[in-house]
């Protein structure tokens, strides 16, 4: 895509074309996606049972793994054309990730965990400090928690810190991998609302992966991974 096209038509945040992925070339691919497009600011619920290739897809979208063939285009940048180092840099600047659990480095303080992401995105220190504090406050984490080691927090609090960490560098894309599965049902809905609100504040594109269909009503668009992905026969 050239620059003029990029400016005129709002291009999708995420675009996959003829992507196939597997651990070795000789084995049949684990994952095959003909096409997928997610617009900027869209909030997508990606549904799939375990073993359906959600994790592989997530690693591809985050630029940690590369497809064997096809293009993965994020924000107009073809990830599979970038060097490993550039992909790492791209991830730091443009992608936030929230896992289902153990999102934080347990021995670092809450604030340092958030600042870690800012560090890799090369944000200036004072600015990232202010933004980290603001995000933590927005997510309902009082100031006193900031200096505590992450391991002393409850799971619910840790997940909220993880959201702050994922959003501190103001990424265009937020990938959430079953971030609610470790939470009980009361905190789960509150967490999702908070996540959606935080994403909306920055107009962040959200890809939320889960096996729990009950969460689907929160999202504007839902996709079934099994329909999207044509898996290899052995997987």
């Amino acid at each position: 895509m050239d620059k003029s096209a990029r400016n005129s038509v709002p291009e999708p945040a995420i675009a996959l074309r003829d992507v196939s992925f597997g651990w070795s070339r000789s084995a049949p691919p684990l994952l095959r996606i003909e096409s997928l497009a997610i617009a900027r600011g869209e909030r997508v619920f990606l549904y799939g049972p375990s073993g359906s290739g959600k994790t592989s897809l997530l690693n591809l979208l985050a630029g940690v793994n590369l497809p064997q063939s096809g293009d993965i285009t994020l924000l107009g940048e073809k990830l599979n054309r970038l060097s490993g180092r550039k992909r790492d840099r791209f991830r730091a600047r443009h992608i936030g990730v929230v896992f289902q659990q153990f999102n934080l480095i347990p021995y670092l303080s809450v604030l340092d965990n958030v600042l870690l992401a800012a560090h890799f995105a090369r944000l200036p220190g004072p600015e990232s400090h202010a933004r980290a504090r603001e995000l933590l406050a927005h997510l309902g984490l009082e100031d006193a928690l900031a200096t505590r080691p992450a391991r002393t927090l409850s799971v619910g609090q840790q997940q909220r810190v993880a959201v702050a960490r994922a959003l501190v560098a103001e990424p265009e894309i937020l990938l959430a991998d079953e971030p609610t599965s470790a939470l009980d049902s009361d905190t789960r809905d509150a967490f999702i609302e908070l996540l959606l609100a935080s994403a909306a504040r920055n107009n962040t594109t959200l890809v939320f992966v889960s096996h729990d269909r009950a969460l689907q009503p929160h999202f504007s668009r839902a996709l079934d991974v099994r329909e999207l992905v044509h898996q290899g026969e052995t997987a």
Binding site: T55, N59, R91, F99, F102, L108, L115, L116, A121
Partner: protein, 418 residues
């Protein structure tokens, strides 16, 4: 941030890290300690006898002469006649001489017949003179002065009467029972063979052998001490003698003259040179010690690498998080390498401090008990090189876990199986 991560990550695993650190510190302590002791031992060994320019004995190898004259080990090949001794002692270049007469012993300790000049001219280390811990030099024929170790091991004090045995074995059937000696002085420890020597006068040696022939007492009455004191007790021969020169420049000239002495075959050696040569023969042991210490160090470093490798499993989550926020594989590599270097640096510093403490505690003990004077400061020019070498070696060994961390980071993705 990298440094903070490495530091906090180590602190997070402080129990295993501390054990690794302790093992590192001990190997650093061993390595630096052995290096320090080696230097100190070499210095003190080559200065077992200082201030003496030549040692003269009957014709023999220089090592043999050194061993029996200085270390009281082995046996002299032959004696030197009193006339030859007197002639060389009268040489214009000679400032002083100290005669040495060996051949008897007391309960395994060699008895040395000499003159009071011995206490004046014998020097060790940095020209330390002999010092009396108790009492005084011998005066009477039957006076004896003990080395520090003799007094300590046998529990002798001033005034004690001792019987000298003929020959140098610790068990002897021919004893000079009729002529007991009285302890009149005990020397302070020196860390030299002086500590293991019983010193008596030349006349004393002569006196106990009156009426002896062929290594056994002749039959018949032995003279009593008063009669002996009245006799002329000038010996016919001595074993060796130490020579001090007016000018050190004359050393080689006089050595050649003595080696070419016409009246009887003599050998003169330079004690400093001979001691250094003897030490070089012991270099094998020294190198062996080094090899062993190096192995201990290597074992600790491999232990450290093992610790870090083992920790990689529990750190999979950490790696995934760092990858997710944009850390590259290289970042993980350097994180682990930095942890290795931090540990190694702490180990080197801790080991050096530990060694200083050990030296500080042990030094007075070594000095009073063994007469070993060890410098307190273990730091020398080469210590820095050794320390640098240890850290560098740690860095090399650390490449293994660092590389594993790097590979893990690239292959595991964001959701490793736990």
């Amino acid at each position: 941030m990298l440094f903070k991560l490495a530091r906090q990550s180590l602190w997070n695993r402080r129990s295993t890290a501390a054990l690794t650190l302790v093992s590192l510190m001990i190997s650093v302590l061993l390595l630096l300690g052995i290096d320090h002791l080696r230097n100190q031992a070499r210095d003190s060994f080559s200065q077992t006898l200082s201030g003496t320019d030549l040692i003269v004995g009957a014709r023999s190898g220089q090592l043999n002469l050194l061993l029996y004259a200085v270390f009281r080990m082995g046996n002299p090949t032959n004696n030197i006649s009193w006339e030859s001794y007197q002639e060389i002692a009268g040489h214009p270049a000679v400032a002083w001489t100290v005669p040495l007469s060996l051949g008897d012993s007391h309960r395994g300790f060699r008895v040395l017949g000499t003159t009071t000049d011995y206490f004046e001219h014998y020097r060790y280390g940095q020209r330390h003179p002999l010092r009396f811990a108790e009492g005084r030099a011998f005066d009477d024929v039957y006076d004896a002065v003990l080395g520090a170790q003799v007094a300590r091991e046998l529990g002798y004090t001033l005034g004690r009467e001792i019987v000298v045995a003929h020959g140098t074995g610790s068990v002897s059937f021919a004893r000079h029972e009729d002529h007991p000696f009285t302890v009149v002085g005990i020397l302070a420890p020196t860390g030299t063979p002086v500590d293991r020597t019983v010193h008596v006068s030349l006349e004393g040696i002569e006196a106990i052998h009156i009426g002896w022939g062929d290594g056994a007492p002749r039959r018949g009455a032995q003279p009593d001490p008063e009669q002996v004191r009245a006799m002329d007790l000038t010996p016919e021969s001595i074993t060796a003698f130490m020579v001090g020169l007016n000018s050190r420049a004359m050393t080689f000239t006089l050595q050649r003259q003595i080696n070419d002495y016409r009246q009887e075959p003599l050998t003169a050696i330079l004690p400093g040179v001979a001691l250094t040569e003897l030490w070089q023969m012991l270099a094998m042991v020294e190198n062996l010690l080094y090899v062993i210490t190096f192995m201990v160090l290597l074992a600790s470093l491999i232990g450290m690498a093992t610790m870090l490798l083992a920790s990689m499993k529990e750190r999979q989550r950490e790696v995934a998080i760092l990858r997710a926020v944009g850390a590259s594989g290289g970042y993980l590599f350097w994180l682990i390498e930095l942890e290795v270097l931090l540990l190694a640096l702490l180990g080197v510093i801790g080991g050096t401090v530990l060694l200083s403490i050990v030296l500080w505690v042990a030094q007075p003990l070594l000095a009073s008990e063994f007469g070993l004077f060890i410098a307190l400061n273990p730091l020398q020019d080469q210590t820095l090189w050794i320390a640098g070498g240890i850290v560098a070696l740690a860095g090399v060994v650390g490449l293994v876990p660092a590389w594993v961390g790097y590979r893990r980071a690239l292959s595991d993705g964001l959701n490793p199986r736990l």
